[in-house]
């Protein structure tokens, strides 16, 4: 565990990574299987390939935010402006499309808007490092949502379904597999590889564990923070694209509460808010656990209030359980 110098760095060595996988991701896999067995048991319609893939469409669109959110949390920071960024990007998409631009250009504007929102967060946070990310992104959250409301003035902007390829982003399928699912898998794979297989990923772990030590080790902490916040904005815009495609229109009040959903998925996946902890596959598993749980309960028409209670309980229990385990493991070691 400890290197020769006696320092413990939580940047992961291969065997250490495996150990963590055994503890946490396997636990999530167990939960995932349990959720699926329960769903199959309570609803005869659950185990249908078509139905399950359609179900992924209901939660994958917001899951694109989870990917960069995992990075943000890994740094030990938080970004709660993502929901508002989604709304603003979607509004810009609608406005530019309805102003007569081709859909391709509108999509580009949407992505640029998202990236710009994220970059503004990053700029403020890297220029004024003493500010808490929670407060800054709370401010920009209100700012972005306000801009969206000014732009659309309580109205909707729509007509996206006229463009077939854009509608297919959400509704299109290759065989039974939704296009969105394929795109998500590709994005998730890239994010996972970057986090676990590159120097950039190891630097994120280093920053999350101890920003000061990382800085003195020669890591360009502020540059990485800026990149990650911009990335978060960009992927909020990706969510905006899929959301707009699914609804065929956009409004200023869409995507409210997405920030907390994204954060809770990442935290359930083991990427804790203190930073420097967690593995990417856990976050992906958590997305599917929560998504399928909601879908299964929805299939047997559980009242939405009750569903919130169940999901809240699951979150608490799952996040609590491994902490109890850790304590036990250490005790056992000490006894030996």
């Amino acid at each position: 565990m400890a290197t020769k110098s006696g320092r413990v760095i939580s940047a992961q060595k291969p065997f250490d990574w495996k150990k963590a996988l055994l503890k946490w991701e396997v636990f999530l896999v167990v939960i995932f299987i349990a959720v699926n067995i329960m769903n199959a048991f309570i609803s005869p319609y659950y185990l249908s390939v078509n139905g399950l893939f359609t179900a992924t469409s209901s939660f994958l669109e917001k899951s694109f935010i989870v990917l960069p959110m995992a990075y943000v949390l890994l740094l030990g920071e938080i970004d709660i402006s993502v929901g508002a960024t989604v709304a603003l990007s979607a509004c810009m998409l609608g406005i530019s499309f309805n102003a007569g631009m081709p859909m391709g250009a509108a999509v580009l504007i949407c992505l640029l808007t998202g990236a710009a929102c994220g970059a503004l967060n990053g700029l403020i946070l890297t220029r004024f490092q003493e500010l808490a990310p929670m407060i800054v992104t709370l401010g920009t959250q209100i700012l972005y949502r306000g801009l969206a409301e000014i732009l659309l003035e309580d109205q909707a902007t729509g007509g996206f379904t006229k463009v077939a390829w854009f509608k297919n982003l959400y509704w299109g399928k290759v065989g039974v597999v939704p296009i969105m699912f394929i795109i998500f898998v590709i994005c998730a794979a890239v994010f996972g590889v970057v986090m676990h297989g590159t120097t950039f990923g190891r630097r994120m772990y280093a920053i999350g564990s101890n920003p000061l030590a990382a800085k003195y080790s020669g890591i360009q902490v502020q540059r990485i923070r800026f990149i990650i916040y911009t990335l978060t904005g960009l992927f909020s815009a990706v969510t905006a694209l899929f959301l707009a495609s699914g609804m065929g229109s956009a409004r200023s009040n869409i995507a409210s509460g997405y920030e907390l959903e994204a954060i809770s998925m990442a935290v359930l996946g083991g990427i804790l808010t203190d930073g420097g902890k967690g593995n990417f596959p856990g976050a992906i598993l958590a997305i599917f656990i929560l998504g399928f749980l909601r879908y299964g309960l929805g299939l047997v028409n559980v009242a939405s209030q009750l569903m919130m209670v169940i999901i809240g309980l699951l979150l608490i229990v799952v996040v609590m359980a491994p902490n109890l385990n850790l304590g036990r493991f250490f005790k056992k070691k000490a006894a030996k």
Partner: protein
């Protein structure tokens, strides 16, 4: 390890107990009938929708699902999807819908999203499609955003109608309109004219800016107001309380602060009118209130003296909307109507209805004119709904 196991089991057990409470438990005899009766109707769905797994699954496992207790009528199940949970008006609509479905022996599925958003409704539509429902009756949170999801549902052979707040003409087969838009516009305008005495400032407190019904009524009122008779009335603002109590309170207070000469607030939404009534009472202003409200919630505020802010208000019976929607769903499912203009059907005790062309290019049935609640009749109605 033990603790890990225990916590997993605890978690599962907790979820199961919660589910057991609401899932309902179909008896064995039901399930036998369900398995047989379900197969043909699902078969029809599958030919149009092409979803073989669903048909197989429902034939085999109809006994497992509380929502699929098929009875003698051929395993039909009709769903009602309202705007959001926790709204007494929606509850009454569901009550009426459920009453007719129970009487006809058809499985009734109730869906209430936790928030009044189109996103939440799309998710629920997908869930309903996946469980092979026969029909969906929806009160839309957005006229256009549900179109792709509802078109998908109709492609699967599911009958789609809407009530209370319509979705656009392409997303539905028929709209169950609580009252003609023009007639509501005229009635409310007449009330404002009467209460102001024919001149002065008035404001509208609406729900969300995207609520189809609200906007249609407000437009209708504006059209009526163009008449010479109303020329001395000045509509100062349309405020949006988003059908949230606190936001409606804030908006009402803002109206009072911004327009000291305001005479009347017209709130064509049950949440808005109640919030406004509370504010007017607390502030003890002489601003008057009218609009569309639930009698049980508004009873304390209705009266002609200065202590009461609301001389009279209107509403239709939400239970009757639910009932009529149920009859429409059933008629669509058994094929006796298709939602085309000119078709007739009988809605039990509610009488005979004819499908008419709607202003948005689709079709609708109109429940009837709005009903006035006055100090004279509020006592008897406040216990009804």
């Amino acid at each position: 390890m033990k603790k890990k196991l225990v916590s997993v089991m605890l978690c599962a057990a907790m979820a199961m107990t919660l589910l057991a409470g609401c899932g309902g438990s179909p008896s064995d005899s039901d399930s036998a009938a369900g398995g047989d009766a379900n197969a043909p109707s699902q078969g029809e769905d599958s030919t149009s929708g092409g979803d073989k797994e669903q048909a197989d699954a429902s034939a085999d496992d109809a006994d497992q699902n509380g929502s699929d207790q098929a009875t003698g009528t051929g395993g039909k199940s009709c769903a009602i999807l309202v705007k959001s949970a926790g709204n007494p008006y929606n509850k009454k609509m569901i009550e009426g819908f459920q009453e007719i479905m129970d009487a006809e022996g058809v499985t009734c599925v109730v869906k209430e999203p936790e928030e009044a958003s189109a996103e939440a409704q799309i998710k629920m539509i997908n869930e309903l499609v996946a469980q092979g429902i026969s029909s969906i009756a929806i009160a839309g949170n957005d006229p256009d955003a549900l179109q792709p999801a509802l078109e998908e549902a109709m492609n699967q052979g599911i009958k789609v109608c809407c009530m209370d707040s319509s979705v656009n003409a392409d997303s539905r087969q028929l709209f169950v309109n609580q009252a003609g838009i023009e007639i509501i516009g005229e009635t409310l305008m007449e009330a404002v004219y009467d209460i102001t005495g024919g001149e002065g400032q008035w404001a509208i407190l609406s729900a969300t800016s995207q609520a189809t019904n609200q906007n249609a009524w407000i437009d209708a009122m504006k059209t009526v107001m163009e008449d010479e008779k109303y020329s001395k009335l000045e509509l100062v603002e349309v405020a949006y309380g988003d059908d949230e109590y606190q936001k409606s309170v804030d908006q009402t207070q803002a109206l009072l602060a911004n327009y000291p000469d305001l005479k009347v607030i017209c709130a064509p939404t049950t949440v808005g009118i109640m919030a406004a009534a509370k504010v007017l009472k607390d502030e003890q202003t002489d601003v008057k209130l009218t609009g569309l409200g639930l009698p049980s919630e508004m009873a304390d505020y209705i009266g002609t003296d200065d202590a009461h802010s609301c001389p009279y208000m209107y509403l239709w019976n939400p239970i009757d909307i639910g009932r009529l929607t149920a009859y429409v769903s059933l008629a669509l499912v058994d094929g006796s109507i298709t939602g085309a203009e000119g078709e007739n059907f009988t809605a039990g005790d509610l009488g005979d209805y004819t499908i008419e062309a709607a202003a948005d290019g689709g079709t609708e049935v109109v429940l009837g004119p709005p009903f006035a609640f006055t100090p004279d009749n509020i006592e008897e109605w406040k216990n009804v709904y």
